[in-house]
C-alpha cells in the first residue's frame, strides 16, 4: 500500500466477488459492489434475484460462501492469518460478529418490532443490552430517535397499537439508536398499505439527506430516482447493470434491465 492511499478512508461497503450457496442452490454468483461513505445505493431486481440474500450477507445474517466482504475496511465474519506464505481463514467468534453487526442498522420488510415492549422500550433495548448505556441515557437517546422519525407522541404504545407505517418508523428509530455507520433496508415499504408508504419513504429521505450511508432494496422506482446516488440492478444472482438512476432506470443498456423496467414502469 503506498502513502497516497493510506490516509484515504476505505469505502463504507466493499463487496468483492461474493458467492452464496444454499446447499446446491447458487444464489449469489460473484457480486462486486462498492458503496462510499454517505452514499445511498438502491438495489432493484426481480423476485428471487438475490437482493435480500446480498444485504443479509453484509450484516452476516447469512455466511458468504466465497469472496470477501468489508465494511468500513474491516473484513466481515472472518479473520485472515498469514501462515508460511499462505492465508488461513478463521471464523470470528459470536461476540465479534455481534460487535460488527451492532455497527450496521437493519430494517425489515415485516418490521419485526418486539411486541412485548412499547415503542420507547423497543428503541432503548439494544443500547441498554449491547452497549450497556444507562437507563436514563438510553431513554433520552430513544426519545430523540423517536422524535427524528416523528413518533414522539406514540412512545408508550405497543407495536400492535400502531399502524404499519408507524411500526416501520419505530423500527428505523430502533436501528438508529445504535448509532450505525450503515443502514440496510430490505423492502421497507412492501408490507405497507399504499397510503402509508409515503411516511416511511419520507423518513428515509431525511435520513439520506443527513448523510447516512444506506443500501436499500426496494421496488419504489420513484425513491430510487430521487434519492439514490447509485442504482444496482440484479438478476439471477449477478449485478446486471449499475450507475446513476438516470443511467440504469431511464437508459438501461442491458436487455434484461430494459425488460424489467419496461414491466415495472
Amino acid at each position: 500500500m503506498n502513502s497516497m492511499t493510506e490516509h484515504v478512508s476505505p469505502p463504507m461497503v466493499d463487496v468483492r466477488g461474493v458467492h452464496k450457496f444454499f446447499g446446491d442452490l447458487h444464489v449469489l454468483k460473484g457480486i462486486d459492489l462498492v458503496v462510499q461513505r454517505g452514499e445511498v445505493c438502491v438495489v432493484l431486481g426481480p423476485s428471487g434475484s438475490g437482493k435480500s440474500t446480498l444485504i443479509r450477507c453484509i450484516n452476516e445474517m447469512e455466511q458468504i460462501s466465497a469472496g470477501r466482504l468489508y465494511v468500513d475496511g474491516e473484513l466481515m465474519g472472518l479473520r485472515e492469518e498469514e501462515k508460511g506464505g499462505r492465508t488461513v481463514l478463521h471464523r470470528l467468534k459470536d461476540a465479534e460478529i455481534s460487535r460488527q453487526r451492532s455497527r450496521i442498522g437493519m430494517v425489515f420488510q415485516r418490521f419485526n418490532l418486539f411486541p412485548h415492549m412499547t415503542a420507547l422500550q423497543n428503541v432503548m433495548e439494544a443500547p441498554r443490552q449491547v452497549k450497556g448505556v444507562s437507563k436514563r441515557d438510553a431513554e433520552q437517546r430513544a426519545r430523540d430517535q423517536l422524535a427524528r422519525v416523528g413518533m414522539s407522541d406514540r412512545a408508550g404504545h405497543y407495536p400492535a397499537q400502531l399502524s404499519g407505517g408507524q411500526q416501520q418508523r419505530v423500527a428505523i428509530a430502533r436501528a438508529l439508536a445504535m448509532d450505525p455507520e450503515l443502514m440496510l433496508f430490505d423492502e421497507p415499504t412492501s408490507a405497507l398499505d399504499p397510503e402509508l408508504v409515503g411516511e416511511v419513504l419520507g423518513v428515509m429521505r431525511q435520513l439520506a439527506a443527513s448523510g447516512m450511508t444506506m443500501i436499500v432494496v426496494t421496488h419504489e422506482v420513484g425513491f430510487a430516482r430521487e434519492v439514490a446516488d447509485q442504482v444496482v440492478f440484479m438478476d439471477d444472482g449477478v449485478v446486471v447493470e449499475r450507475g446513476t438512476a438516470h443511467q440504469v432506470i431511464s437508459n438501461p443498456q442491458q436487455a434484461r434491465t430494459r425488460d424489467f423496467f419496461g414491466k415495472v414502469l
Binding site: 450484516n59 445474517m61 459470536d94 461476540a95 455481534s98 460487535r99 453487526r101 451492532s102 455497527r103 450496521i104 442498522g105 437493519m106 425489515f108 415485516r110 419485526n112 418490532l113 418486539f114 411486541p115 412485548h116 415492549m117 412499547t118 420507547l120 422500550q121 433495548e125 439494544a126 443490552q129 449491547v130 412512545a155 408508550g156 404504545h157 405497543y158 407495536p159 400492535a160 397499537q161 423500527a171 430502533r174 436501528a175 445504535m178
Partner: protein
C-alpha cells in the same frame, strides 16, 4: 325535535329443547342421590375424617408432598430450559444427548423410573469421579450418602418432569417468530441476551398455562414415590393409617380433601402468574382499551401475530 322511529324489536320464542331438560333432571336426581349417600351412609365415617384431617402425621405428609412437588418442578424447569436450548443449538452431541434424554424419560413409566432410582444404591455402591474406561479416580464416595430416599424421589420425579416440560418450553420458544431472532441479532445482541430479553418473555405466554397443569399433575404424581420407597408423603401416610385402623375409606377422603385443597390453591396461583406475566412491562401511558382477563401486554403479543395462539401441547400422563 322529531322522535326517531323505533324499530320493531324481535321478540321470538327460543327453540324448545325438551331433551336437554329431561337430561338435566336425570343428572340432577343422580347428583342428589350421591350427596344423600355421602351424608346417610355411615361407612364414610365423617367423624373419623374430621379426627384425622389435622393429624400431625397427615400434616407432615402434606408438607412432604408439597416439598416433593416444588422440588421436582424446580429440577424439571431448570432441566427443561437447558434441554430445550440444547435441542435448538447446532452442536450434534448436545442435540443428540437432549433427544436421547427426552426419548428415554418420556418413553418409560415414571413408576419404573422411581423404582430404578430407589435401587441405584445397589446398582452403584460407590460413586466415583474419574476417567471412563481407565482406573484413574479422583474421588469416590458411598452412594447411600448421596442417594437418600428423598434425593432419589426428587431426582426420579424431576428428571421425568424435565422431559415433558422441555417439549413445552421448546414449543414455546418455537412459537416465537423467526423475525424476532433476526431483529435482535441484527442489533448486535448475543444469543443469551436474545433468549432472555426477547424470546423467553414472548414464549412465556405459551409456556405458563401448560406448566401450571404440569404442576397440578405433579402434585398427584408424588404419590408414586412409594416405589422408591419414600414413605412420608400424604398418600403413603394416609394409606398406612387406614390399613392399621382398618378404616381405609375415611383416610382416602382425608387425602382427597388435602389434594383438592392444594390443587385449588395452585389453580388460583396459576391465574395470578398468568396475569403477572401480562403486567410485566406495561407502559403507563399506553393507549387502547383493555379486554377483561388479559393484560395489555398479552394482547399486544397476540395481536402482533408473532406467536401461535394455541399450539397443541404434549402433556404428562
Amino acid at each position: 325535535m322529531a322522535a326517531e322511529p323505533t324499530p320493531d324489536l324481535i321478540k321470538a320464542k327460543p327453540v324448545p329443547r325438551p331433551g336437554v331438560w329431561v337430561g338435566a333432571v336425570i343428572v340432577a336426581v343422580l347428583g342428589l342421590g350421591l350427596v344423600d349417600s355421602l351424608i346417610s351412609n355411615p361407612e364414610y365415617r365423617w367423624q373419623t375424617v374430621r379426627e384425622y384431617l389435622f393429624d400431625p402425621r397427615v400434616l407432615s405428609g402434606v408438607g412432604w408432598t408439597l416439598l416433593l412437588t416444588a422440588g421436582a418442578m424446580v429440577i424439571g424447569i431448570v432441566l427443561a430450559l437447558t434441554i430445550a436450548i440444547m435441542r435448538m443449538g447446532t452442536n450434534p452431541i448436545l442435540r443428540g444427548v437432549a433427544w436421547a434424554y427426552i426419548w428415554f424419560f418420556r418413553g418409560t413409566p415414571v413408576y419404573t423410573q422411581l423404582v430404578f432410582w430407589g435401587l441405584i444404591t445397589i446398582l452403584y455402591r460407590r460413586i466415583s469421579v474419574g476417567i471412563p474406561f481407565t482406573d484413574v479416580t479422583f474421588f469416590s464416595i458411598d452412594s447411600k450418602l448421596i442417594f437418600t430416599a428423598l434425593v432419589a424421589a426428587l431426582l426420579g420425579l424431576g428428571l421425568n418432569e424435565g422431559a415433558y416440560l422441555s417439549e413445552i418450553v421448546r414449543a414455546g420458544l418455537n412459537s416465537v417468530d423467526k423475525g424476532q431472532w433476526e431483529a435482535a441479532t441484527a442489533l448486535g445482541m448475543k444469543r443469551g441476551t436474545v433468549l432472555r430479553r426477547i424470546i423467553i418473555p414472548q414464549a412465556m405466554r405459551v409456556i405458563v398455562p401448560p406448566t401450571g397443569n404440569e404442576t397440578i399433575s405433579m402434585l398427584k404424581t408424588t404419590s408414586l414415590v412409594l416405589a422408591v420407597p419414600f414413605m412420608l408423603e400424604l398418600t403413603f401416610v394416609t394409606n398406612a393409617i387406614g390399613n392399621r385402623t382398618f378404616l381405609p375409606v375415611p383416610l382416602l377422603i382425608v387425602a382427597a380433601i388435602w389434594y383438592l385443597l392444594i390443587t385449588s390453591i395452585l389453580m388460583v396461583g396459576q391465574r395470578y402468574l398468568e396475569a403477572y406475566y401480562g403486567r410485566g412491562f406495561d407502559g403507563e401511558q399506553a393507549g387502547g382499551r383493555r379486554v377483561r382477563g388479559m393484560s395489555r401486554r398479552q394482547q399486544a403479543i397476540l395481536a402482533a401475530g408473532t406467536v401461535k395462539s394455541d399450539p397443541t401441547l404434549d402433556v404428562t400422563p
